[in-house]
């Protein structure tokens, strides 16, 4: 019995992480249109991960394409034109986004003040 209990306790600990992971996987699933649109409640974790990988790759490709197109546009358009400005801004935004991502990764809770600033 003791062994079983200990095992159950262990499993309980692992269960938590498992639940966590399951939760995260479901969140991930919500971000992936291909799986999200499927609406089938049961999707294996490996499937979700696989789709995530595919999706990320797709996004990378998309970003590359878009950046290519934007750079092309930037080349073709007058540097003084509004479009060029827009593009530049967008690229900036892009950079900013990346920065944000990393900022997100490394600084959490920094924006607390700002959020509840209204009070």
């Amino acid at each position: 019995m003791s062994s079983r209990r200990s095992r159950s306790r262990q499993s309980g600990v692992s269960r938590i992480t498992e639940d966590q992971i399951a939760d995260l996987v479901s969140k991930l699933q919500q971000l992936i249109p291909e799986i999200r649109n499927r609406r089938s409640d049961k999707v294996s974790a490996s499937k979700v991960l696989q789709e995530t990988c595919n999706y990320i790759r797709n996004l990378h490709r998309e970003v590359d394409d878009l950046s290519d197109r934007l750079s092309q546009l930037l080349e073709t358009t007058d540097s003084e034109s509004a479009q060029a400005a827009i593009i530049r801004e967008l690229t900036n935004v892009n950079l900013e986004l990346r920065c944000l991502y990393f900022l997100d990764c490394y600084s959490l809770g920094f924006g607390q003040y700002i959020i509840y600033s209204p009070t």
Binding site: L31, E34, I56, L66, V93, E96, L100, D104, S107
Partner: protein
Amino acid sequence: MPLSEFLRMARGNLDSGEQNKRQNELPSRAENDLVELVWENGQIVMQGQSSRGTKGPSIRNLQSQVPRIRDSGIGNSTTSRIGKFGGVESILNDISPIVPSGELDVSQDDEMVPWLNYPVDDGMPQDYCSELLPEISGVTANGMSAQSSYATNKRSSFDQPESNLHNGRNASKVSSSRSRPSCPWLPQQDQTSDPSLGSGVSDIISNNTSNIPDAIFGNSARGQAIGNDSNTVKMERRNIEIPSSSSNLLNFSHFSRPAALIRANLPNTDGMPISGSSGVKGMEANEKGSAANSSNPVKSTLIKRLNSTEKDIDIHFPSTMVCNKLDSRSPVSKPPKESVPAEQTEGLHRETYVKNHKSLIPSKDPNASNGVPDSERTVEPVVASSSVGSGNSADRASYDQIHNCKRKFRENEESDCPSDDIETESISVSVKKATSAREGTGSKRSRAAEVHNLSERRRRDRINEKMRALQELIPNCNKADKASMLDEAIEYLKTLQLQVQIMSMGAGLCMPPMMFPPGMQHIHPAHMPHFSPMGVGMGMGMGMGMGFGMGMLDMNGGTPGCPIFPVPPMQGSHFTSPMPGPTNFPRMAGSNRQIFGHPSHGFPVSVPQAPLVPLAGRPPVSSAVGLNTSMSGNRMDVPNTSLTTNSEDPIRNKNSQLMHSAETSSSMNHTSNRLQATNKVLHQPAEVQENKLGTDVSAIADATPTNATDISTKAGCN
């Protein structure tokens, strides 16, 4: 007798389905047929009591067994198959009398026919008969005792008539068991426990096996008794002695004999050898059972028998001694026999001691002399062989290898009978089956668990693999545990989506302005597929693209963009005043222009208005719009406005996106962070752009310090 003829004969018999015909034909054919007939007669005798229904299934089983045997691939060579089939055939013969003609299926009959042919066609030499007869006679005596023991031991429920029936079945089963090694799961097993089945009850198995051979012998003995009186007498002695000894001993002796009989048959016909091998299998199975049940000496005796049926001079049990002697005598008289058993023994030994037996085999007499020392050795070897067999059962490949080795040995020795290989193979197979069956019952559960574990492990491996792939895809992801990995993946995915949104926005925005008014519809479909995967982001991108051409009106009323986001209220507040498309450009410009100023003016205003920063960010614009429209509405050019609107729109988009994500993730901190950062970023680029454009430098100058101050003040306040 040519096989073809025999086939015809067999077919004719099968087709007719009449036992009488067969019987009539059999005498005409050959002595082999006689043997069969004897069996049949014995069975028939038994049958009188037996019910047909029970036997019907047995026939079916046999049929089913046959294909299985083929599949089992035990007989690599065609001959081996034939041999097996021959065994089956014997079964058929037994069964056929029992079963009504109607029961047998034609197709089955056809299948059976070829097999039948082989055993028959060999044109049984008289040796065979003579060999069989002594054994059979012995069997008869044994059969009686065996039956009694059988009834008492196994099935108390069965009456003796029933036991007789069982014996009859057993006979059929025995044949089936011979062929059977491949199919341990026969339904018939219930009645006669097949050694191959290895129900796990060693006792039962041994008893059953003993009963089976006994029954067969008994049947055959009755028919054949006429032939050899002396043999029968000896056999009787043996039988008498056997009863005194343990039932297991009896069984073994019986088995050995059938094996010997089969062996005798083997040289003649391929099919027969196979049956002999099967008999050997049964022997082994019995031995195993005896190993469990009976003392070692019994094993040794059995082993000895197996090794040299002729030799067995040194027998622990007098009864066995007698039997062996008798057997040896008969074989001696009949050369063909001798060679066969020797080979068979070789086959057995090959598995374990190929070398020793090689030397022994060539000279039979020396074998006898060797037999004594070997017997003890053989005991272990038998066990070893059994273990080897079990090992083989797990892997066919290994089995094949062994088989090859055996073949090599055989080639070297070059036994007269090709059946040796088959025998050895069949033996090993039978051992396998028996062992596997035994193991199977015990380990069924564990196996299921194992399978589950395997599948689980595979699943985990797959997930880990995907995780690793994901980790490679995510930059700067050095998290070890899965949870944080997934967290990171989610975040990265979101940012990627946002990024793609924005970039696509830019790409859409940067389309030549000419296209926009008329190309709106085109843009939609063009970008729709592109963004479709984006989901939320797509709506925004579309909204932005539309916003450029059509103005913000689309954003407001545009179903694609607005409904998706929680932002609409903000926008509604901002753009409540309907803007009729292109006409609004000037106004838009004004509003956009305000955006630049908005940070300064808007933020303070917004703070009271909206509880959330993103919302606040938006409303301030509106307020700023109101303020700035009066101030600098005219200054902004259309391109500028468009630019500003665009610049502002991304912000908005971002904000909305962020809000969305915030809502979903319910982590406000992140969103606030992002919003702040995005706001800053946007302001800066906007400023830069304006500087470049040189339109409202002063306004920007005003705005920028104010921005900074606002932010700082905000931070300070909070």
